[in-house]
Symmetry: C2
Subunit: 296 residues, 2 copies
């Protein structure tokens, strides 16, 4: 979605705020999975087959780590490793995650602002039925999101602050787009940061449903809803955001359901939500921008 | 040399004691260059063209680090990186360098004992004319051993202890072979460890000259001798060890010089010192073992 928006908006018209509560340390490296996925996608380097990492990357190091019986539950490609080495080195040298992201993005020729939500560590913990509390990557990668989810917790949220850049970008924005992301683990960490919900509340907020026909467009959101005893639907997403959003794009296949059931005050519009390639991403981005232009 | 010896001696007949004063941290990884060179050579994995790293290794990570303007003065291959990741991980988990080396060597199917000289950090510092004090790898790799050497210092030597395995291997040995190594930076750190010189002194010590026709068989030894105002010769090596060695193999091309000049009590024998391939390494190893069998 961010890639589609970046193709039709100038760098001064778009700031992309990214969850960092999935970040973790692995083999001494500071890994920022969501920032990497966003940046690699914007740079045209992302691997579309996996949804993570760099396309055509090799895995010589991790193949060798596996032979040494080292930890290989989280795979990092050889070129991808360079990003983590360099991020870790720059962080240790005292730069903030915001600065490091800007420096790396300059190398990747990314023109749009990609803003980590915070320069402090926040860590998503997943309370599961089978294993108790798991770090997000243990839940997501190591256990392939199979454990039953009971609740989420954002460790460090009490003391973490949103960055100055994030507060300014949100405050100065005409409208805020909540991409078709996981509300529990990708969006909640951002809007839970001190003061951000209040800023977002004042804006025209447009959401793209991450649920199409009951299924998540990507990842385990539908299973999370089910684990929590909530119907996996665009309506549940709207309810989850609890008054924060003004407009939602749902998929055409969900149109009939919402004609009948929706009683909320938010505007619902149906379109084709699935955006597997760049043309469809640009098409949806244009639809979103058209709505924003009409509403603000 | 160690590879040649390993081909004709059983694991219980040979322990290889390795300098760790070149060890350093780089990009958060614990690097043991001498241990790696010995182990990769014993495993038949070493890159003969470079003298470091793994043959046919790729450099995708470091090519990418270079593109990100990260530090690339010390190159690590992709497969080589796995060794450093795993060593670092195991050290952080509380294992000693001796244990980690044993675990990794089991993976490399190395049967002979490779013993790091110490489990504590000792760091070779090189006092240079141009740059003042440099760490060994800065001197050796970053500055390509071009600075003029004034002296060496082994930081941490006062508190470091040789490992129990090293003390036992030396104490239980019939004889000790000082391989054609750099006395200043590869052998001195070992014999400077508390108590080791005294143990070695009691044994039959056979040295293979690291100088042939005034030139180092490998590395900067000849230049170091010149920088320090000492003639680069096998005789200077003998004098450097100051009564420690009983027997030295010199190269055939140095034979005439020693017929005239040598007045020491040590036994000198000439042979072909240069051992670029496995057959020549085995041949020299056999010559050494024959001498030891005659002398002990």
């Amino acid at each position: 979605m961010a890639q589609g928006l970046s193709k039709i908006l100038n760098p001064d018209e778009l700031s992309i705020i990214v969850n960092t509560a999935d970040d973790f340390e692995y083999l001494g490296l500071y890994i920022s999975p969501d920032i990497d996925t966003v940046c690699y996608t914007l740079a045209g380097m992302a691997n579309p087959a996996t949804g993570w990492g760099i396309k055509n990357d090799t895995f010589f190091t991790f193949d060798a780590i596996k032979k040494l019986s080292g930890p290989d539950w989280f795979l990092l490609g050889d070129i991808d490793l360079a990003t983590h080495f360099e991020r870790t080195r720059l962080l240790k040298a005292g730069k903030s995650l915001t600065e490091v992201t800007r420096l790396l993005n300059a190398k990747f020729s990314i023109k749009h602002h990609v803003l980590p939500m915070s320069n402090q560590r926040v860590s998503t913990l997943v309370q599961t039925k089978e294993y108790g509390v798991l770090s997000f990557q243990e839940y997501f990668v190591k256990h392939k999101f199979q454990p039953i989810v009971q609740s989420f917790k954002f460790e460090g949220m009490e003391t973490a602050k949103p960055t100055k850049d994030v507060v300014e970008a949100l405050s100065n924005s005409d409208s805020i787009i909540i991409c078709p992301s996981n509300p529990f683990v990708s969006i909640d960490p951002i809007i839970s940061l001190n003061g951000l919900r209040e800023i977002i509340q004042e804006k025209f907020v447009i959401c793209i449903s991450p649920i199409v026909g009951g299924k998540a467009v990507k990842g385990p959101l539908d299973k999370m809803f089910e684990d929590l005893g909530i119907k996996s639907s665009a309506n549940s997403v709207v309810e989850h955001y609890n008054g924060l959003i003004d407009f939602i794009f749902i998929d055409n296949i969900d149109k009939e359901e919402y004609k009948i059931s929706d009683r909320s005050s938010i505007i619902i519009q149906s379109t084709d939500i699935l955006i597997p390639d760049l043309p469809s991403r640009v098409r949806l981005a244009k639809e979103i921008i058209n709505i924003i232009k009409k509403k603000i």
